[in-house]
Symmetry: C2
Subunit: 337 residues, 2 copies
Amino acid sequence: MVDDRKLAVLRAIVEDYVSTNEPVGSKALADRHNLGVSPATIRNDMAALEEQGYIQQPHTSAGRVPTDKGYRLFVDRLSQVKPLTGAERRAIETFLAGAIDLDEIVTRTVRLLAQLTRQVAVVQYPSLTRSTVRHVEIVPLSERRVMLVLITNTGRVEQRVVELPDAIGDDRVAHLRAVLNASLDGCGLSNVPDRVADLPDRLAAEDRPVAATLLSVILESLVERHEEKIVFAGAANLAAADFSVGLRDVLEALEEQVVLMRLLGETGDLSELTVRIGSENPYTGLRGTSFVAAGYGAGDKELARLGVLGPTRMDYPVTMGAVRAVARYVGQILAGS
Amino acid sequence: MVDDRKLAVLRAIVEDYVSTNEPVGSKALADRHNLGVSPATIRNDMAALEEQGYIQQPHTSAGRVPTDKGYRLFVDRLSQVKPLTGAERRAIETFLAGAIDLDEIVTRTVRLLAQLTRQVAVVQYPSLTRSTVRHVEIVPLSERRVMLVLITNTGRVEQRVVELPDAIGDDRVAHLRAVLNASLDGCGLSNVPDRVADLPDRLAAEDRPVAATLLSVILESLVERHEEKIVFAGAANLAAADFSVGLRDVLEALEEQVVLMRLLGETGDLSELTVRIGSENPYTGLRGTSFVAAGYGAGDKELARLGVLGPTRMDYPVTMGAVRAVARYVGQILAGS
DNA sequence: CTTGGCACTCGGGAACAGCGAGTGCCAGGG
DNA sequence: CCCTGGCACTCGCTGTTCCCGAGTGCCAAG
């Protein structure tokens, strides 16, 4: 039913369509790829492929265009990820190596990815919930106000000003700091609630109200603040790609954190590439676009995800290569810092 | 030469063109505004206005369209800022009041402004150089690594991991922290270099290498890091405005921090509105757009700027009203927190 | 099963005409 | 001196028509 030659035809159609952006006809196929058969034969195969929903005609008597289903087959069985060139690898390395803090790593990554793929890049900040506490700092601002700073092993820093129920001196601050760090150091963020459950009981009575306030702030705003930060870059590339139709919807989707989270969120294994094509996307405004995502992380733990959004008609092998490579390099940088 | 009636005609042209987005002719003007004169008279005035460069014809025998010079005159002399409605004010207030830290204030502000004006909003983070040190924190991570955290009076937190030349114990960390805070507390960031110039000399010899390292990091990366962070939102509104021409250039400009800085940078007085129209913009990609900016700050110090980017054909009075109002509210929020 | 041939379809571009909004100019009137 | 109505003119826009050619589906022969 779908013999090898039909698959070869489908592959050729996808490749030609991606590079020319025009419906591809049987004759052009026979010319540009040496499939060893005549246009007429190709036509028969194309009819079969259309029958099964892999390709379709925009208008009667125009060439064929791959459907989402066709791209899916192409990605799953007909293509292989194209590795980057040496020059590209070196460029990535030097570009990312210059970053000095987490913010800059993420910013540089997202720009790099956008430039590399000439599409829209999306990067999620390393997830709080999957990282561990490296340090908790309490900074007195005035008698009844302190700043809580939580530092994670991924270099992320969350801070928050807290109003205290009692005035508090420097020595008590130091004590609380020591206690908090003793219980939380190295603790996975998702385990924080368990660890601190009985903390107030183990403190002197006078410390309890303050400690309770601080803990509730830590829990509510630092740990349970699931909303991961997501940034994107390369929106200008959208305008260059010709699909002006729906551009507005795509831009809107990009500014909706919720949509981005759903795009990135449904996670596969670390460094597995996820490709979501056209109507497979979870948001109607993103039909007509495909998303290539990968997880990244230090060591073997996936901390967050990143990806590239572009027209369904994109060069999947190249895009997938770029996404995979960048994900790996970011992982290395994070592990090393 | 430019008598009152001609100005009235110009005003009418701008208003009509803004609301209809079509070149406006003499007859339509006479109908929709009661200028008390006939179309023929208006035609004469329009000829004069065109002669002086305030309006122009896209094609022979089409209506007239304001030029940049025409908009400039309109903004300077023919319009007055339109205050927001009560409902809008309340919406701003409640929306901004919910913000918990600086990041969120800025994020909410930029979205609010984009939504309010249906254009692209640009907000600069409160400038480091104009704020003062509230606290310096040194957090030991390991024997030879510490994290430096600088907290400003605007709630901004800058952090950085530092490798030390010597191993250092907790007590020496505490000492350094105390010394640093003693000299820097309340100090304007631009004065930091002066304040710390002779610090190493006043320390014990064993502390000097470490102190020097820390100070150089503070100076280089925290204080002298002039590059202010700038964010934008509402790019989708660009696609809605019909000027698909040049959209790509505009998007590119928005992703260039440098361009944004130049847009915002040339500052007027606090809470003075700055309007830059079309070709007055410092970047070629932004011809065809206008930018309305205002400074904001806590109290009477301008900390940073924010603004709105849209097509030259924008509703200036309304946009200016929104920008001014949001700038004021953000100032209040910052002052209060 | 493949291939060449052939009639058919239809989107898209070129050429063309008519409409109508808008203009500039001019002569007459307050 | 300025305003006004009238009038001829311009020219972009729209709808129509026509033609071309790429591409197809089908069929009969190898």
